[in-house]
Symmetry: C2
Subunit: 446 residues, 2 copies
């Protein structure tokens, strides 16, 4: 009989790990416990489901438990792991539908419990009509609330990626949207000058934006009726609460699995935790940041999938390494593409770099082509060496994949001089003859 691998959590990292483990090792028993009613779903699609662009929540499911069963992977939904015993190597599991509890033994364990929405102790946060967005059940609840209650006024608390994607989703449902944010800018991992472009787009789209408005309370009788923030009151028939994601480390902490400096589970480049035969991956874990050389907590689906494969390979007896991240991310905010990679100016300063930056405005196509749009490129680099530390880009087209060239540059450890040498593609419908990246590099090199 083969050894038994238990995977706790069946979303991106967990199901990538299980599937990869199966391919690497045919003899392993592989069991996944997932608390929600779904495995293997694309949670980044929730705003588009709520917006109405994606008709059914099932469209976001990559594979069902039945499909995993055919691969020889036992995936149990509605099963919450209550505790981990790393000495006798067992987990205590509850079937949340029946209430039944049982103990299961493992030889190898992969922890992919993901992230949870941050929920600071704000009065009224439990009122009906206030939603966070982590699981398909959350997305279905928002969609049902919209269809049944026809809310007219929506308040988004928190202007990060999810908050702004949800602003678009609610507005598309005819809801008048107000965004309230504690900080003096939207998208805190962008620099203020680039965030300003996003703020202008929100206003153009009719979204009301209140910066430096920390939420004090939610009020209402049976359901939320208004949001108190920054000493103002905002009426609301629906609230999306999206102030951040924290690693879901409760199980890990109780089991003695070590956390790192970010508060997420510490892992090495094989996704090993401090406990033998226990790996971790995805939004519960840290990742090695290639620009700082330190562990970082940047929970994203891309990293979760890659780390999951590495954890699955190693837990199955193979040998794989996760190379690390550079913090690349992109979001659609109404008609803008907003992208970043590496360190922001503020992050670079906090890391102790002697930093310079350039911020240029160029065109997404040749200047004479109809439909060309402005594209803003910011490069953050080290004074003296000109080593690239980060980049940000905002524009209506040509941003999402152009940022990847700068992500590659960070992987390569390039300077802005190296960037200026790149033989990048050109045709009038797709770029100016000097690509915006080359323009920015040339300005940095002056």
């Amino acid at each position: 009989m083969g050894e038994r691998l238990i995977v706790i959590g069946g979303v991106a990292a967990g199901m990538s790990a299980a599937a990869k483990a199966r391919r690497v090792n045919k003899d392993l028993d592989i069991v996944v416990y997932e608390k929600s009613g779904y495995v293997s779903y694309g949670s980044c699609g929730f705003p588009y489901f709520i917006k109405g662009e994606i008709p059914r929540i099932d469209d976001l499911i990559v594979r069902t438990p039945e499909q995993f069963a055919k691969q020889g992977i036992e995936a149990h939904v509605h099963h919450e792991v209550l505790s981990i015993d790393t000495v006798v190597r067992s987990v205590r599991v509850r079937n949340v539908e029946t209430g039944e509890e049982f103990t299961d033994q493992w030889d190898r364990l992969i922890l992919t419990t993901g992230g949870v929405a941050a929920r600071p102790p704000i009065p009224g946060l439990d009122l009906a009509g206030i939603f966070t967005l982590r699981t398909p059940e959350d997305a279905l609840a928002v969609r049902a609330w919209i269809e049944e209650r026809r809310p007219k006024r929506g308040v988004i608390v928190g202007a990060g990626y999810i908050g702004l994607e949800m602003a678009e989703a609610l507005a598309a449902n005819g809801i008048k949207v107000t965004v309230v944010e504690m900080l003096p800018q939207v998208m805190p991992n962008m620099d203020p000058d680039m965030a300003q472009l996003v703020q202008e787009e929100l206003l153009r789209q009719g979204v009301e934006l209140y910066l430096e408005h920390p939420v004090q309370a939610f009020e209402g009788k049976e359901r939320v009726e208004q949001v108190l923030a920054g000493d103002a009151a905002f009426p609301a028939d629906i609230v999306i609460f999206s102030v951040g994601v924290k690693p879901n480390v409760t199980l890990a902490k109780e089991a003695g699995i070590a956390l790192g400096p970010t508060g997420a589970v510490a892992v090495d480049d094989h996704q090993r935790t401090n406990v033998p035969q226990v790996w971790a991956a995805g939004d519960v874990a840290e990742a090695h940041h290639l620009v700082t050389g330190k562990p970082a907590y940047i929970p994203l689906g891309t990293t979760a999938n890659k780390q999951g494969r590495v954890a699955g390979t190693n837990a199955a007896g193979g040998d794989a390494v996760f190379a690390g991240i550079v913090g690349t991310a992109v979001a659609k905010v109404f008609d803008l593409q907003v992208a970043r990679t590496g360190l922001s100016l503020r992050q670079a300063r906090e890391e102790g770099f002697d930093v310079a930056s350039v911020n240029i405005k160029a065109s997404s196509r040749a200047h004479y082509m109809p439909g060309h749009k402005p594209i803003h490129v910011k490069l953050i680099f080290e004074k003296g060496t000109h080593r690239l530390l980060g980049a940000q880009m905002v524009g209506a087209e040509g941003v999402a994949k152009r940022i990847d060239v700068l992500a590659a540059a960070l992987h390569a450890g390039w300077t802005t001089y190296d960037l200026a040498k790149l033989d990048l593609s050109y045709a009038p419908p797709f770029a100016p003859v000097w690509d915006p990246i080359l323009i920015a590099a040339n300005v940095a090199n002056k």
Copy 2:
């Protein structure tokens, strides 16, 4: 009095060189002689002018001679350089409007005579209604022919980038288009499997395509009436002849400026020719190919601009180096984006590499997003080492700038293993969680 820099040819490389030389050296006399009636134009825009997307040819002009004059650059249009004397350092020039000839002295010379359309000795090639496309005058002539003659049937000879862009331009003018090509595929610098996708698009768009149909003759009385190719006759009211570009090296050869193995002017990494104080740049010159380590002739506007700046800097007494090319190019062919970088499979084999390749079909967006389109990615790499040698991409969206990540990978000298590590951007509207590049790399690494 300052020394005198003469630049022969005033398009991309020439005007980049002149402008850069002026910035580097305020004392230099800078004179540009350009045979056509325009300087500093974007010739890649001609198909879009002919298509009707760009209203005026002047929209393609970056700067006029008057604007250059304000920078202290004397740019003479309608001035053809007839010969170069590298001993007494002079050029013989003819004003093609007045017929006047004169001699001008130089201390430093930059040769940017560009490329010329290949014109093999085919009977009837000089008939009215047959056009090549290199200068604004050419583009204006095609546009005038379309407006005055209202051609119904057009034949494109040669299925390279320009030929296929012109197929789209003519079709947009209501012309029934037939493309005849000598080779068994369109776009000879793409591999046949990728070219096949372009061929299918041409057929979908109602373009008739005849491969392996070398042109034998053009026939007609006062103007072209039919094209004989591959023993078939194709009626034509207009013909675009686009079988390739050759370096315009007549002046260089006569002056004893050495050509390289490709037949273009040989230059070092400072754009120096074999003659002291003579530099060359752009479509007349070779470029160092970073994948093969050899000189290559790949005439493109991006390279012309970069080489021009390097030549201008050095001719003005500065010190700049051109890093080389990897052969990146993109074209719009009707609703497809077609891109390539590095070596094709055939080129890689010809260079003696032991080659492998993968060709995957992925999606331009998350699978559940409306509007997602197939995107085909081909990676060409060395067996054993897995060193990336080239890449090709075809799809309706997300191709043009995604190829640049692979261009960057070639600059970095990466393997397909390195590629698989990249932290690329993801959001459902812009990419699947596994970017098509990562999917291709993962398949290559299996």
